[in-house]
């Protein structure tokens, strides 16, 4: 249904060609919020560990990481009584061990900050999320589109939200056998050529079967992976989809948040507005609190895509610009020595031997080109 909502962003398309319309970066005049507001990010997990992260809003021009709210007391209270306290992890995250929350029961979150201000959420029901039927993909001209399909046989869920984590395997430009350690060139013990990288969804993916006669979500488009702008599809790619059941209210919240932050383009789009969640100030009822508290269980499904399954695309390795350089063992008028280069950050690849079998130089390149750990981890994920 959300797609019926008129998104005139593509008006720009027409404008671009017909009349050469354009989009320029825009910096608004210095505006700033009078205060920083509490941001509550997280949910009550009906089947696992619940985690709540407390942060503060920042001015737009503020380049730093968001300030976290530590030393707060976070509690969950059941409608039928009972209260459990979250554990403060010290980094703004507060967790609650699995097993404390019951499905179809109502709970609310109660927060008291170190400064002594209290906040509370409305009561929310813990919903059970139906299983994901499948995650599928289809190769298109420009890359791979992933879809999720699910259904609820009891016709109870209707509103869904998804997040995903992507992981992909890749190789750096060169296989390094040598390592520079403690001012010595020694044999490398670990493999820094073969790595895995990962990313998390940043968009808001929500879908609903409200308009259908059955509670079915058929091939809802999730992530689209381009075959030209990254090496994700070069070797092997994996997508983990997490599905969360939503209530009509939380669905609306996410939809509004998405309308506000992702689909505002032309003046035919709805106007932005303050998205109001279900958290309120207790000390000061007029103080805005950002975020929406929901309760649900999490369903996951993982899928792999091998390069061999894809059309014969020329997927970039992202190391196209990498070239090795020969660094002599001893400094020459033209070049610094291998050791000097290693000191300044270059990574040795392998030795170059003289006809006599003596090491006379090392092939070297930049850290990015050699050590894949600059873009990922060389620890093979457990699911791989």
């Amino acid at each position: 249904m959300n797609r019926i909502n008129f998104s005139w962003r593509s008006l720009l398309l027409i404008a671009t060609i017909l009349i050469d319309g354009c989009v320029d970066p825009y910096r608004p005049p210095a505006v700033s919020a009078p205060n920083t507001y509490l941001v509550v990010d997280g949910f009550l997990n009906g089947s696992g560990v619940s985690s709540i992260r407390l942060t503060r809003t920042q001015n737009l021009s503020d380049g730093r990481k968001p300030t976290v709210e530590t030393k707060a007391t976070v509690k969950v209270e059941g409608e039928k009584g009972g209260s459990q306290t979250f554990v403060d992890k010290g980094d703004g995250t507060y967790t609650l061990a699995a097993g404390g929350l019951q499905f179809n029961q109502k709970y609310r979150l109660s927060i008291k900050t170190a400064a002594g201000r209290s906040y509370q959420s409305d009561y929310v029901t813990i919903k059970q999320t139906p299983k994901i039927d499948n995650v599928s993909w289809k190769a298109q001209d420009q890359g791979v589109q992933f879809y999720v399909t699910t259904h609820d046989p009891t016709n109870n869920t209707k509103y869904y939200r998804w997040e995903y984590e992507e992981t992909w395997e890749f190789y750096s430009a060169f296989y390094s056998r040598v390592e520079y350690q403690k001012k010595q060139f020694v044999s490398r013990m670990d493999d820094v050529n073969h790595c895995w990288s990962n990313g998390k969804s940043t968009g808001i993916f929500i879908g609903s079967s409200e308009k259908l006669t059955q509670d079915v979500i058929n091939q809802f488009p999730l992530v689209f992976v381009s075959n030209t702008s990254s090496n994700r599809l070069k070797v092997r790619y994996s997508l983990l989809v997490k599905q969360y059941a939503q209530t009509a209210e939380s669905f609306e919240y996410w939809q509004n948040l998405r309308k506000n932050t992702e689909s505002l383009g032309s003046i035919f789009d709805p106007q932005p507005f303050q998205v109001i969640g279900n958290l309120h100030g207790v000390t000061d009822p007029n103080e805005p609190v950002v975020g929406y508290l929901s309760g649900y269980s999490v369903e996951e499904k993982r899928i792999f895509v091998n390069a061999s399954e894809l059309p014969p695309w020329r997927i970039p390795s992202m190391y196209e610009a990498c070239l090795p350089d020969t660094a002599p063992l001893f400094r020459t008028p033209e070049k610094p020595s291998a050791a000097d280069q290693a000191e300044s950050g270059a990574i040795p690849i392998d030795e170059i031997l003289s006809p006599m079998g003596q090491i006379i130089a090392y092939r070297m390149s930049s850290a990015y080109c050699v050590d894949c750990r600059t873009s990922g981890t060389n620890v093979k994920p457990t699911f791989w």
Binding site: R3, I4, N5, F6, W8, S10, L11, L12, L13, I14, I17, L18, I19, D20, C22, V23, D24, P25, Y26, P28, P29, V31, S32, T36, Y37, V39, D41, T57, Q58, N59, L60, D62, P66, D141, E163, K200, T202, I204, L212, T213, N218, E252, K259, T261, E262, L264, G265, S266, I267, F268, D269, P270, Q271, P272, F273, Q274, V275, I276, P288, G291
Partner: protein, 923 residues
């Protein structure tokens, strides 16, 4: 020489015998009288039955004659002598007993002596070559100097007043001319022709010089001798722009002398000279240059008139309501410029005959079509082509006008390499037809049909489609010179659909439709010189299908969803009296009473009083049967205006009007979109009521060639709809839960300096205006911005517009436009935060900031083809540059978090100067 004298002598004798009558050639038959109060036609019939005389005359020459002749047994010449006395009519009788009645002078019934001797003649009348223009001029002068006798001649002229009525028509095409000032100097009495070119003026009996003036037409005058009520049809000629003379056209002082205020009238001439982005004359874009009219952004069709929202304008196309006046996302307006005769925009002092919208009435009138000869016109522009054809069906009686317009943007899109564009489609067309038929002098019918269609798909599988369909039938009946009526029946339909079939499971089609059927009767009555009365009744039946959501294709699992239809009847009666108390002071009292019935079948939700109307709060559902009256709203609408003239060229006018609106547009987008929904007032949505008080000062300079005015207004609006944050309006079964009742307030001052005639013409306007809304309800969460007034989306305080046109010579003219306005208000992000793994923004209260100011200059050059009278087609070229400075005016500003970063963007529709070339032709 002798021959010359002889001819002259004979001619003199001949003329002398003519004035004496040709009695000697007629047989001695006498006419039996008496004749009392017969029309000339009846008199002729009587004479023809009594004798074997045959009469030949032009009906138009004798239509004001009443024959009163007491004597009996007189011979025909004697009878005619007396009957025609003082009428400037003459008679001639030939040997075959044919009687010719002619104005000005009697015709010769014999060839003059020496007729066959032409080669040697040096007589005065012998001009073999008559210059075309001189001939026309001569005809005009004769008409202007000749004395027209109106009504039954009496001697002496009786004291008191009499009424004179008739049509003003274009001499070339026979089309009526609107807005022509018809007046006499002493005492100063004047009227303006209505939409049919009809005028009715009450004057003291006696001799007058009746002056007739209109912009773009040659001034003319008629010498009249007004005996009693009568008719006078007047033809005016197009003002051919003369190279040598600069005509100073005086007395075009309607703005000062007319009672109406807040009215802007544009004719097609003005429309054509304003440069547009795509080269085609665009009515709505020109309307937007008028003071008090704004829009939220470029290429947006929604008009905001004096702080009103876009749904508060009644847009009439030959009396039928147009719901979506745009094509191609608003880049084009829905009106084919070749069809249009004139546009009238009422911003205040709205006459009582109009109702149903709060802010303004935009009345678009088509031309009638050429009654004299077949002709056509057309144009080829960058994106569109158009063609119109017009001509007589029965010469001088009926005419047709048909027009078509379409775009070739589809072809343009498909020829592009980028797949995003290749997958896009955008096309539109519109068709117009108009037929006028004059059954007789008293009865004329007008039939108009209009159809427009738009379809587009923007790099997706979703196809949008919308169309307007209108028909109008008007019958104008003249009872007598003082009273005429117009019966009008119209139907308007607007519908749109959105469909998608890419995913077979979710394939759907969504449709919306509104139908309006209107019947109305309007009477215009001119009882005395001091009163002009109009009154009438109207009735509108609305039928809405607010939304039908249907599966598309066999595999679709889409659950059909139909928002129940709704219907209502809006009726009104009105009366208005323009009372000219003295030449300086006049008042118009108007009252309209409107009645709205919301009719079944319908299920209506009931909400508790004092709590927000939300889905969770629905108390009860009441079912009403078909045709059952669910809710009635009614109320008076006062329309009062007054004028006081300090001097002939300066006046002050005040007006107050109340408007009621029962039909609302639901839209939470800033601009008008084709998928906006219309909603009738129902038990949960109250009618909008608006009051406007305005006052204006008008002063003309330099023989009325320069008009200046200052108009101020203050306006309040009740029950205006604003929307809850994030409202979903499409397919909503209870839209009342998504809207909030707001009250609006607007005020402003408009300054205008205008020069309408001469080689250099145009206008400069400055407007200062504010418009605010307030949502203050009992439930605090419902309030927007804590219940305080906040600027509405189209609150743009400062606005300067310059429209100028300079005619270099007969073939070249240059137009330069300039417009500046304050940026519209927006809601800006105040802070950022992280949620669900991505930075997001926290927005300010509604409309607390503004986008950058807007300014734009446009230039166009019109090149006319040569001015030979006889050639296949007359053509002209328009070379224009839109957005001359290439300024990237912000259309909107938005913030997007993509890939984890919040970025601000400024969207401009026109990124650089846009040159266009248009070819127009006429044949």
């Amino acid at each position: 020489m002798t021959k010359f004298y002889r001819t002259l002598f004979l001619l003199c004798c001949f003329a002398g015998s003519l004035t004496a009558g040709f009695g000697q050639q007629a047989a001695e038959k006498t006419i039996r009288g008496p004749f009392t109060n017969l029309s000339f036609e009846q008199f002729v019939r009587e004479v023809e039955t009594q004798t074997d005389y045959r009469f030949f005359y032009n009906l138009r020459d004798v239509d004001s004659i009443r024959v009163n002749y007491e004597k009996s047994g007189q011979k025909l010449p004697a009878v005619l002598q007396e009957v025609l006395q003082g009428m400037s009519l003459y008679y001639a009788i030939d040997a075959r007993r044919q009687v010719f009645i002619t104005p000005e002078r009697a015709i010769r019934t014999e060839l003059p002596i020496g007729f066959f001797d032409r080669g040697n003649s040096t007589g005065e009348g012998d001009t073999n070559v008559v210059d075309y223009l001189a001939e026309k001029e001569k005809r005009r002068i004769t008409l202007e100097t000749r004395l027209f006798n109106i009504g039954r001649a009496t001697n002496p002229v009786r004291p008191g007043n009499a009424n004179l009525a008739g049509h003003i028509r274009n001499a070339a095409s026979g089309e009526p001319v609107i807005g022509v000032a018809v007046y006499i100097e002493k005492p100063r009495i004047g009227v303006v022709t209505d939409q049919f070119g009809y005028y009715s003026i009450t004057l003291p009996r006696g001799r007058h010089e009746l002056r007739v003036r209109s912009i773009g037409m040659k001034d003319t005058k008629r010498q009249i001798m007004l005996y009693s009520d009568g008719k006078l049809e007047i033809e005016m000629e197009d003002d051919v722009i003369a190279l040598k003379e600069v005509v100073i056209e005086a007395e075009k002082d309607v703005n000062v002398s007319g009672l109406q205020m807040g009215l802007e009238r544009l004719d097609i001439r003005t429309l054509r000279q304003v440069p547009t982005a795509f080269g085609e004359a665009d009515l709505l874009k020109v309307v937007l240059t008028l003071p008090g009219v704004k829009s939220v952004g470029e290429s947006s069709v929604g008009l905001n008139v004096r702080g009103g929202s876009t749904d508060q304008n009644l847009i009439l196309y030959n009396d039928a309501t147009i719901y979506n006046p745009s094509h191609l996302f608003g880049f084009f307006s829905a009106f084919n410029p070749d069809m249009i005769k004139s546009v009238e925009l009422y911003k205040s002092g709205i006459p009582s005959r109009y109702g149903g919208r709060l802010s303004s009435v935009l009345e678009v009138t088509t031309r009638d079509g050429n009654k004299k000869k077949l002709s056509g016109s057309g144009g080829i522009g960058v994106l569109t082509g158009r063609l119109t054809l017009e001509g007589p069906i029965v010469k001088e009686k009926s005419s047709f006008l048909i027009g078509a317009r379409s775009t070739y943007s589809d072809w343009l899109l498909s020829s592009l390499k980028n797949p995003a564009f290749k997958n896009s489609r955008a096309n539109f067309y519109d068709l117009n037809a108009h037929i006028t038929h004059e059954f007789n002098e008293k009865n004329t019918i007008y039939l108009t049909g209009y159809y427009s269609q738009d379809e587009f798909r923007l790099n997706s599988d979703t196809v949008y489609n919308y169309n307007n369909m209108n028909a109008t039938l008007k019958w104008k009946h003249i009872f007598n010179t003082k009273l005429y009526s117009v019966f009008t029946g119209t139907t308007s339909r607007y519908k749109y659909s959105v469909s998608s079939d890419q995913n077979p499971v979710n394939a759907y089609k969504l449709t919306f439709q509104i139908d309006q059927t209107t019947f109305k009767t309007d009477f215009n009555y001119y009882p005395t010189a001091k009163h002009t009365i109009d009154f009438g009744v109207s009735s509108n039946l609305y039928k809405l299908r607010p939304g039908q959501f249907q599966p598309l294709g066999g595999e679709s699992l889409v659950r059909p969803d139909v928002v129940p239809t709704e219907q209502a009847l809006e009726s009104a009666f009105y009366v208005g009296d323009r009372f000219d108390i003295s030449p300086r002071f006049s008042i118009n009292f108007g009252l309209r009473y409107s009645l709205f019935n919301y009719l079944g079948p319908k299920d209506v939700y009931v909400y508790p009083n004092g709590s927000p109307k939300t889905e969770a709060n629905i108390l009860d559902t009441l079912s009403y049967g078909a045709g059952k009256n669910i809710k009635t709203y009614h109320g008076p609408e006062y329309r009062i205006s007054a004028r006081y003239a300090f001097t002939p060229d300066a006046s002050i006018k005040v007006s107050f009007n109340r408007m009621r609106q029962y039909l609302h547009m639901l839209s939470n987008t800033t601009a008008m979109a084709p998928t906006d929904i219309w909603k009738l007032s129902d038990p949960n949505i109250l009618p909008q009521v608006g009051d406007q008080f305005s006052v204006g000062l008008y002063k003309n300079f330099k023989n009325n060639t320069i008009e200046t005015s200052v108009e101020g207004y203050y306006k309040t609006m009740d029950n205006v709809l604003d929307f809850r944050s994030g409202a979903t309006l499409i397919m909503n079964h209870h839209p009342e839960t998504e809207v909030v009742r707001a009250e609006g307030m607007a005020y402003g001052v408009e300054f205008l300096v205008k020069k309408i005639t001469g080689r250099f013409n145009g206008w400069l306007s400055y407007t200062y205006s504010r418009t605010f809304l307030r949502v203050d309800q009992s439930v605090p969460q419902e309030n927007i911005n804590q219940g305080e007034y906040y600027p509405s989306n189209f609150d743009k305080p400062h606005d300067v517009t310059w429209v100028g046109n300079y005619r270099i010579n007969r073939r070249f003219s240059v137009s330069l436009n300039f417009t500046y306005s304050t940026g519209r208000p927006i809601t800006l992000p105040l802070a950022k935060y992280e949620l669900a793994g991505s930075p997001r923004v926290y927005y300010s209260e509604r409309n607390q900031y503004r986008i950058p100011d807007y300014y734009r200059a446009d230039l166009s050059l019109n090149i006319e083809g040569n001015h030979k009278v006889k050639k296949l087609a007359h053509s002209s070229w328009t070379v224009a540059v839109y957005n001359l400075t290439g300024r990237r005016n912000a259309y909107s500003v938005y913030f997007t978090s993509l890939g984890g970063v919040v970025r601000g963007y400024k969207l401009s529709i026109f990124g650089q100067a846009i040159p266009t070339l248009t070819y127009n032709f006429k044949f």
